[in-house]
């Protein structure tokens, strides 16, 4: 019984914990790539490059934008609807892309 609970717990926890760069790519395409690009932002634009960046930094920045503890009209709006899982997936994608 106890083992079953552990296994069940592991299965339930799995989708939350395992950030997927593949899922992240789709989410990044929908939410981020318009400005930041999938690999690089457009030449001559002001948007920072996200590919190859430190994952912990990216996660923290996205959470702060979402929670409005870091202020930017556009980033507060873009990150406002992201779940922790979305953030983990997106970061898993960008931090693994060669810049």
């Amino acid at each position: 019984m106890r083992l079953a609970i552990v296994i069940l717990g592991a299965i339930l926890a799995l989708p939350v914990q395992a950030a997927s760069p593949y899922v992240g790519q789709n989410k990044a395409t929908a939410s981020c790539a318009q400005c930041h690009g999938l690999r690089a932002p457009a030449e001559g634009s002001i948007f920072p490059k996200l590919s190859g960046r430190d994952p912990e930094y990216l996660k923290k920045a996205l959470r702060h934008y979402r929670d409005k503890t870091r202020h930017s009209e556009i980033m507060n709006a873009m990150a406002g609807s992201l779940s922790d899982e979305d953030i983990n997936d997106i970061v898993s994608f960008y931090s693994n892309v060669k810049p």
Binding site: C35, L38, S45, A77
Partner: protein, 525 residues
């Protein structure tokens, strides 16, 4: 343009006006400045006359009742499933608010003038003495036919990302690129001399490119907006057509000097006299002529390349004509008509309509395709499919009848085929996950056998000249051209660039229409 100085002008003008107690002057100046912002950042897609082009018309009529706040957020973030880029940081907040106000209060502008003299004055000569150019390619390539050109739009439809990129389709290596300033749209190769290519942008500029040294030698501007360009079979003439203004111009392909300009107007199929956008322009290996589609007038004009460039008008071809492809040695033209969902077959020799064929829903044939299967020549036509019927039409081009309408996953924009490749590739453009995909139709069974997940907004497939590789633009949000093996359909390469769109193989000058024999034109001689 410097956004900030412009913005300062705006503020400055406002301040002076307040001092003088005249708000009319300030308004005029503000309008003037915002007109400039519009022309510099928006017009290459939305049309210089505010009347729409690749992107929808944005003016007092079309934006009536729209919330300025909602429009501001679209301008700031762009629109994810279209080419609309984010202008946050590119324009100041005052400019964003100002241009919205300007657009919501300004009607579509009248058709502007662009004379032969304007075209002549716009010629820029970058290489004065062409005899100083290298006698052969400055890079390694077996055959110039293996060159593939990609029209890279650049995220903003202008700027450093806008260029024509040239690739060796045997090695998938980039061999050169030329900056085009604004979005490159069409690349034509000179059929008579392999060293010349012509790149046309959305702002109606034409760049004459020396492919041997990969540089622009001359450029010319033939209007404000419009992708239409064709080249004559002898490589001596170019014809360029515009959406803004409604004209077309024949140019000397060597010097880019304008020779004759045509006002595009005529009586549409419903009996109304209309001024018309220029649709496709095509040269044909069959004769010294150009064919040009008058989009709104529903006419095809055949221009003879002789003294005075006389025109034969073929009327009542269809409602809202657009693009076309050639068949039967270039004697027949298959032209798409958006509004009545037909493709009209035209006999360029007799200069008359042969037949109108059913073509799905809002047909857009792109470069078109024709393949010979079991002795029959089959034509393939894609369509935007802005309704439930998403099919690719297959016609028997000898009998001029519909063979099959192949159901595909969504709207489509351009079919690619090659005599040596087993599949006809069509790009699914429906605005959801399907936009990432390209579907492959088996030439023999005429059924979809495979779906490729290319990524981004995948469109404009094109085979390499030998048919061994399939090139596909991953478009906006994809920012790369992806290359597949034509038989195994395994991905073999990816070439990064900003918002790639149309792909043009130099092989087209040999096979006339994609899918026909690699030496279709050679066999005509």
């Amino acid at each position: 343009m410097n956004n900030h100085s412009n913005n300062n002008n705006y503020l400055l003008a406002g301040a002076f006006a307040l001092l003088l107690g005249s708000s009319a002057g300030a308004l005029a100046q503000a309008d003037q400045d915002m007109a400039e912002v519009f022309q510099d950042h928006c017009a290459s897609c939305h049309g210089s006359d505010l009347g729409g082009y690749l992107a929808p018309p944005i003016n007092a009529t079309t934006l009536k009742g729209r919330s300025p706040t909602a429009l501001r957020s679209i301008l700031m973030t762009g629109s994810f499933d279209t080419l609309m880029p984010p202008f946050y940081g590119k324009l100041t907040d005052d400019e964003i608010r100002g241009v919205i106000k300007y657009l919501q209060t300004t009607p579509k502008q009248p058709n502007p003038a662009w004379t032969l003299e304007d075209t002549r004055k716009s010629i820029k000569v970058l290489v004065k003495d062409e005899s100083t150019l290298p006698a052969k390619p400055t890079y390694t390539i077996d055959d110039m036919t293996n060159i593939i050109g990609v029209a890279a739009r650049g995220k903003y439809g202008r700027g450093a990302g806008s260029k024509a990129v040239f690739i060796n389709s045997k090695t998938h290596q980039k061999i050169g690129e030329v900056a085009t300033g604004t979005a490159a749209h069409i690349i034509e190769f000179n059929p008579a001399n392999p060293r010349w290519a012509y790149v046309k942008t959305d702002t109606a500029e034409i760049f004459k490119v020396d492919l041997y040294s990969m540089q622009v030698v001359r450029s010319v501007k033939t209007g404000f907006n419009g992708p239409g360009i064709g080249i004559s079979r002898d490589g001596k003439y170019i014809m360029a057509g515009s959406f803004v203004p409604h004209n077309a111009t024949i140019l000397d392909a060597n010097t880019l000097e304008p020779l004759k300009s045509f006002e595009l107007e005529g009586i549409d199929p419903d009996g109304k006299m209309v001024s018309s956008d220029s649709g496709m322009i095509i040269g044909t290996p069959y004769a010294d002529i150009f064919a040009i589609a008058l989009e709104n007038a529903g006419q095809v004009w055949v221009v003879d390349l002789k003294e005075g460039f006389p025109v034969t008008k073929i009327e009542k071809v269809g409602r809202h004509l657009h693009d076309a492809f050639l068949t039967h040695g270039g004697k027949k033209l298959m032209i798409a008509s958006y509004d009545d969902s037909i493709v009209a077959a035209i006999d360029l020799e007799k200069r008359e309509i042969i037949k109108k064929l059913e073509a799905g829903c809002v047909p857009h044939v792109g470069g078109g395709s024709a393949v010979v299967v079991d002795g029959r020549t089959l034509g393939f036509g894609t369509n935007f499919g802005d309704c439930d019927k998403t099919v690719v039409s297959v016609w028997d081009l000898d009998k001029m009848e519909v063979v099959k309408q192949v159901p595909v996953a969504g709207g489509t924009e351009s079919p690619a085929a090659h005599a040596n490749a087993p599949y006809v590739a069509v790009d699914i453009i429906s605005k959801d996950r399907r936009a990432r995909t390209v579907q492959l139709i088996d030439k023999k069974t005429l059924e979809v056998v495979k779906t490729l997940d290319v990524g981004g907004h995948a469109y404009f497939p094109e085979y390499s000249a030998d048919g061994k590789f399939l090139y596909i633009s991953a478009g906006y949000n994809g920012d790369e051209v992806v290359v597949y093996d034509s038989n195994s359909l395994q991905k073999v390469a990816a070439i990064p660039m900003e918002s790639p769109a149309g792909i043009f193989s130099r092989g087209r000058v040999k096979y006339m229409t994609r899918g026909l024999s690699p030496d279709e034109i050679g066999s005509l001689k």
